[in-house]
């Protein structure tokens, strides 16, 4: 299985854009910049990160991604099993800070759900994000910027079966190191 869409944000023209007033809802499938995401969360990325990526749309992908020491892995994935009675709660608009290393990885997304009721073969999963059709979830980090998790409407490559699903689940997993987990 090969995913073909590789978004390189560094190759995107960083055209200056008018930053709109912070929107109450930023669950638009496309077109949210890192600045807008930071603004919505009330957080700030490093100045050099804002300079490089602030006005660029956060790439929204349905395949595996890494943000620092955190891995975003769409389900189904053999190492990760959701509990049958997993309890889901809505992601708050201020986001939830998860996998707090030196800096938080903050997950948000209007209409999206979050659970920690998950089993992981390697003990790496901290939770699962559920992105229903029409929504998009984002993971934000002060140093690493933003990573968008696509809802079914945005699946254009890779596992196309996900495009017809009512939602896509993404496991959030930590990187591991021999004898312990990596603090980023």
């Amino acid at each position: 299985m090969t995913e073909t869409t590789i978004l390189e944000e560094t190759e995107t023209e960083a055209a200056p854009v008018e930053v709109e007033e912070a929107e109450a809802s930023f669950a638009r499938a496309v077109g949210i910049t890192l600045d807008q995401l930071s603004q919505a969360l009330g957080r700030e990325v490093y100045e050099h990160v804002a300079r490089e990526l602030g006005s660029v749309d956060v790439p929204v992908l349905s395949g595996p991604q890494s943000q620092g020491d955190v891995r975003i892995r769409p389900l189904p994935f053999n190492a990760v099993t959701l509990d049958r009675n997993a309890s889901w709660k809505p992601l708050p608009s201020a986001g939830i800070a998860t996998v707090s290393g030196q800096h938080d990885h903050v997950i948000t997304g209007a209409g999206c759900l979050w659970t920690t009721d998950v089993r992981d073969r390697d003990g790496l999963a901290v939770g699962v994000v559920r992105v229903p059709a029409g929504s998009t979830a984002y993971m934000w980090h002060a140093e690493h910027g933003g990573a968008g998790m696509a809802g079914p409407q945005d699946v254009t490559s890779g596992n196309l079966a996900l495009a017809d699903a009512p939602y896509i689940d993404y496991a959030i997993r930590r990187q591991r190191e021999f004898q312990g987990l990596v603090a980023d």
Binding site: G63, P64, Q65, S66, R71, R121, D122, R173, R176, V182
Partner: protein, 306 residues
């Protein structure tokens, strides 16, 4: 004695309250010395010990140990472990203050009076009460911590990469060095070298020093043998290198994977760092996929890394 559970409101105050005391315990502004002395006098009184009237103020805990040792004839090292931490030892005080300020336990006037006296006595740096004198230090002039978890127990640890994490500056400066929570000798932070790392008997210090030098640099300088190298499919344009690390270097059989950060540093460069992986890996790709908890095929599907 009445015992009761915390209410939900009180429980909700635990972490914010502890956080407030954590910052208080590393507050570098000079103490109110008059309030400090009043507190210490009251502590002596509460202990039925006459106030000696002699206060020796020294810059930092090392001098405290030396001065007290010189006066008492004891060994400085013994004194060192008998000092009271003052501002730096706030955990016990914070627990009592929670009962007083948040729970507002009734009918504890006597206890609160003792607490207030001890709190004032601990508002400066380390101190050593003796029947004949009191020695006390300045507060540290800076304390460097890093966040390693959410607010609550274990949220922060001492760390500074370019100087002492706890420092007393001034005419007679002193400091303590920490690397991601590990107390290390000065050379680890200020002047690390492969030679010193080789000679260091303590494995925790050795590891800290290797990280301080940087794995890539250490691998080159220490002539670690490169086992395998490949393009990183999870980080386009970057390579991963797998090095064998001798057992006596890391304290156990291990290999080191040198990888590249997905995001640029302020300087526009990319940081390279080492991850310890099990010793049985012979392929860099297998090892880097393992760090992600995936097979090499799964790992190669990565669309983006930042």
């Amino acid at each position: 004695m009445a015992v009761r559970n915390l209410t939900d409101e009180e429980r909700a105050q635990l972490i914010p309250f502890a956080k407030q005391w954590m910052y208080k315990s590393i507050d570098p502004t000079p103490p109110d010395w008059a309030a400090w002395e009043a507190g210490v006098k009251r502590v002596y009184e509460l202990c039925d010990t006459p106030w000696p009237g002699v206060v020796v103020k020294v810059p930092h805990p090392k001098r405290l140990a030396e001065v007290t040792a010189a006066i008492t004839g004891a060994e400085a090292r013994a004194i060192y472990y008998e000092q009271l931490g003052g501002q730096s030892w706030h955990n016990w005080l914070a627990s009592l203050a929670f009962a007083r300020d948040v729970m507002q336990l009734p009918d504890r006037e006597k206890e609160w009076e003792i607490l207030a006296a001890y709190e004032a006595a601990c508002s400066a740096g380390w101190w050593y009460p003796h029947p004949d004198f009191v020695v006390v230090t300045e507060r540290p002039t800076a304390t460097h911590i890093e966040r390693i978890g959410p607010d609550g127990p274990g949220s922060h640890q001492l760390h500074r990469a370019d100087g002492p994490a706890i420092e007393w500056d001034g005419a007679d400066p002193w400091g303590l060095y920490f690397w991601h929570g590990a107390n290390v000798p000065q050379w680890v932070i200020m002047d690390p070298s492969v030679e010193r790392i080789r000679e260091e008997p303590n494995v925790e210090v050795r590891r800290a020093a290797i990280e301080r030098v940087g794995w890539e640099e250490f691998a080159t300088q220490a002539n670690l043998s490169l086992v395998d190298e490949c393009d990183d499919p999870g980080n386009p344009g970057q390579t991963v290198k797998l090095y064998d690390v001798p057992r006596d270097t890391w304290g156990m059989d291990v290999k080191i994977l040198v990888v590249t950060n997905g995001s640029l540093e302020r300087t526009g460069t990319r940081r390279r760092y080492g991850l310890a992986v099990p010793d049985n890996f012979v392929k860099a790709l297998d090892a880097v996929a393992w760090t992600a908890g995936e097979s090499p095929e799964e790992y190669s599907q990565t669309l983006r890394r930042t």
